[in-house]
Point group: D2
Chain length 335, copies 4
């Protein structure tokens, strides 16, 4: 196969980053950009002189010279655009969240499989050095059995007019949890509050994972300070990921509690264990560039990416469950 | 009235601090210390040469020369000791939590009222400069309407053999919330996990306060890092209390989101407002010394303290509700 | 006068930022870019389609259609290029440091004055919100009399092959000190060490300013951690500027020591004074855009900028004195 | 030999800590405390019921039943007291700095040697877990060749009426440098300033150690923030010691600059090397208790401690040189 030819639909907030990365990757060729806003079309034309810029998605979806469709439009249009692209036999890169509903996501998964095409959902965080390191540290067994995953993602945030804070901020954490924990969510409970607009501005998401792993996520648009911190506790070691640190984003603590089993089947009072801490050096790279490369690998080899439609479906399934729980004041929703 | 004569029961972890503070306060006289452990009795005798040290609580409870009984024993003995002291007409200083059950607490409240005696529950945190400042800042209206209260109290903690992490760590936060929010809890949901012992080592406590104030408390004995941070969001300003800072424990942010009302009754997309931050200077003082003084004021004037039996009862009521919710995987428990 | 037409010489590390800012400012027109490296010329042509790109500085220096020459070449060529530009009656924007020697700088100052042309040295830091705030806080008298200025600028840095760490890192601090202290340096002493290359990789610069203001600057390419912190002590308040903070870069402490005069003319033992701290909100803006605007103001009004040739001369004078002191193991060099 | 009997002279600021540690160590017996202030004598008597308390140093210096004299008086009396104690054949524990002058220190060193008695100067910091770890890390070669030692010890400090900030704060760092660097100071330069009282309140101390090790110490009583941070750069790794951290006081960075030798004998432009960081777990212990034990070891075995009179002399020699340099505006003083 020649270098895949790429058509990008959507040149809004994230589109320029996609255009830059797909055009600078020598393994593919960015051929066409679709954008309905004239001002943004101008910007696209200026920044990418050799690329055609049009206003009609059909110029990409039905075009014989396009192998890959990259979709960076508002989430409500994800489903029809991705569906059409797959029906036309294109490989699809889709921004997160994959769709508005888990049902739509499931249809895309099935269609990609039937058409034997790659469907990738852009969970960019998975391609950061930090998450790659966390994944490998957990997989290596260094932390031991995972006990909990606790993330705080709060700041004074732009309040969205069309989704609540869970849909806005939680997909990052949900996709990372899904990726590194290697275990499935069984139940979700979300407590939230709404003070100003139509949607909750703050929420506490509790997730019960298989294997007695407790996860929690605090998302909040109304915090005076910005926090991006995740604690992952294992029964051997514990990890702290502070994404706001420039260096030392990840710290691994040789700390824990040691227990002696008791005769009655319970365990005795634990004792601290406090050893060294270390912070592994992380490669400096742009996550998106790594992800584009990985996507092209998948296209070339006909392989399904780790962040495929199913991964996208799992995240949307959690988001839907979160909404149901929120509406019922935190009632536990089984998945 | 002459200087009140004080008898202290319990010279374990906290008792020595109480002994030191009651003996150094010139407005009362520490007369007698009761402790069942001989080694601790020795330590008490050495540190307080002029004070009688005995092994029998009756030497204090029934003694005619004792006006005030200070109880610092394990929680299971709080109720019988405090009950007897009140029946004997003593004023009572009781360590937290007031009792094992809200019913017992209610009985003590009634008894103190019937006997016209002061009953104080030692919620020491209320007497720190930090909490006093938070209380006055909220009361002054500087923060505006309170939107949420969010506290994280985690560390690698000594796992208790007789209570879960909520009973161990949450009373501090619950008493502070109760004190500063001026509003009552309506419902509680607690999600927790148990990995090693009989009791939960980590828990997420969501509290619905009157007036749409959302509170949340993360308590955890299995965290590799120690965090003691509380965010309080108001619709005018926001406050961060980091109790691990030596200086600048409290920061007040002139930050918020401004909204324009819309015709349809909802509000428009908010806009950031970012102004100055300031950190008020806090008086350096020992909270316990301040509290002992305040207690003696109450005894002298026959007034009920802010941290009276009712305050203690409210905290235990929340703890009981937390246990019920924990046992039902976070089911909402109305109060 | 029509919009000034601008010619830029040098499209290396900093040139693209200058090109972007001069081309996006509507009050001037970027006409021509000179760069000797063909690859960089290509980049310049791509990024600025409407601008002429040439390899010969004469296309700018002697061009009748050019009013302003912006020079961003290596420091060794600053003097001849700026001299020629001024002789040709152009206004000049010159990167820092102004020249290799104070003598050359003095010649440029004189020439600019004789030709009645604006000569600005790009001390970008002066146009950050942080330094503008520091300047106004000191000028307002809020800090009282300034006692000291202490700056640490260390990190694991790219060791330069042609200058020592003082010439590489200190110009930032020297230009800021010069700007905010409103006082002149009287003497300099520098202690440094050289471990790997031809030039010192670390240095401690002590500066005696008029009015008994002690300044110190620690610059170091061999630090494992990055620090950008400045303390400014006044006899009323004290200021900390941490340039690595995203928010709260500046903190102003109402702290100090109060003294009572004694009969013998000396003063008594001081007492602490600890009041509130506050962190003023800083405007978010690009310093360089502000500086370009300011430069165009000066050109329009025929005014001399605060960062004029004399300011550039003062910085180079300090750098030369620093070299002399370094060579004499820290001997004090009077200015 | 029976358990050494200890006499303590001076029960002011530090004396009570010494009394507590010598009395609780079972390998010796605290016999007598001398203190001229009646109020302090009372406190000593109360806290140490079995110990004789007197007002006359002769009760200890000339007493046949005293083997060890511990001196914690103002520095001006160190020399006569220690001299007399040694003449009387006592072992001596002396607070820092050893004496007012290097000459006096040298006399004590000689006398201790002639009398074959242990003379220890209380450089407590050497016995902290942090400094012990730094010493062993450097000795192991892990950092490689030491390039520099840089310490900042600043805070809003009680301005002393009888010594400058160098004598007050620098002895800690000077004794640590002397201990861990295994190299001698060759020259000192000190720049300082005096704003309020008779003595300098801030100073920058540059020290040239053998082997091209550059050391620097910033001491300041007029800083709004408290900093206790030391950077130690080696050509293999680098270490940061932040004494204000509760945990992770020491961090060791696998960072550095790699150079290739060039033909002309100089070295090429370096390249970063950034590897992992780790923070070794440190034992929790009271430094003073460890030091008392070590002192008793030395007395028992007749060995000279690492912090002997010579170590004390070296520190005072540096302090004297610092004063000479300060008086000459930072002129380099050779040792």
């Amino acid at each position: 196969m020649d270098r895949p030819q790429v058509g990008l639909i959507g040149y809004g907030y994230w589109g320029p980053n996609l255009a830059r990365n797909f055009s600078s990757n020598k393994r593919c060729a960015l051929k066409r950009i679709v954008e309905i806003d004239p001002a943004r079309r101008n910007k696209a034309a200026q920044s990418h002189p050799g690329v055609e810029v049009t206003a009609d998605a059909a110029d990409v979806l039905g075009a014989a010279d396009i192998d890959v469709v990259v979709i960076a439009t508002p989430v409500s249009s994800h489903f029809p655009l991705a569906q059409e692209a797959l029906l036309q036999g294109k490989h699809v890169w889709l921004e997160k969240p994959i769709t508005r509903t888990a049902d739509e996501a499931a249809q895309l998964v099935e269609l990609a499989s039937a058409k034997n095409r790659v469907l990738l959902v852009d969970h960019t965080f998975l391609f950061t050095s930090a998450v790659a390191k966390i994944k490998s540290v957990i997989a290596s067994g260094e932390l031991g059995r995972i006990l909990y995953y606790d993330s705080v993602r709060v700041n004074l945030g732009l309040i969205q007019s069309d989704v609540n804070v869970v849909w806005d901020l939680a997909p990052h954490d949900l996709s990372v949890m899904d990726h590194v924990l290697q275990s499935r969510v069984q139940a979700i409970s979300v407590h939230g509050a709404r003070h100003f607009g139509r949607y909750e501005e703050m929420a506490h998401v509790s997730l019960y994972f298989e294997g007695n792993v407790m996860a929690h996520l605090h998302v909040n648009w109304l915090s005076p300070v910005k926090v991006r911190q995740t604690l992952i506790g294992g029964d051997k070691k514990m990890l702290v990921w502070n994404d706001l640190e420039n260096e030392e984003k990840i710290r691994i603590y040789d700390k824990g509690v040691d227990f002696l089993p008791l005769e009655d089947g319970y365990q005795a009072l634990g004792q601290y264990r406090i050893g060294d801490m270390y912070s592994p050096a992380l490669e400096t790279r742009e996550a998106l560039a790594t992800e584009v490369n990985y996507f092209l690998d998948c296209v070339e080899r006909g392989e399904s990416p780790m962040n495929d439609g199913l991964a996208g479906w799992r995240v949307v399934q959690m988001l839907e469950a979160a909404d149901r729980s929120l509406a019922a004041r935190g009632a536990l929703v089984e998945l």
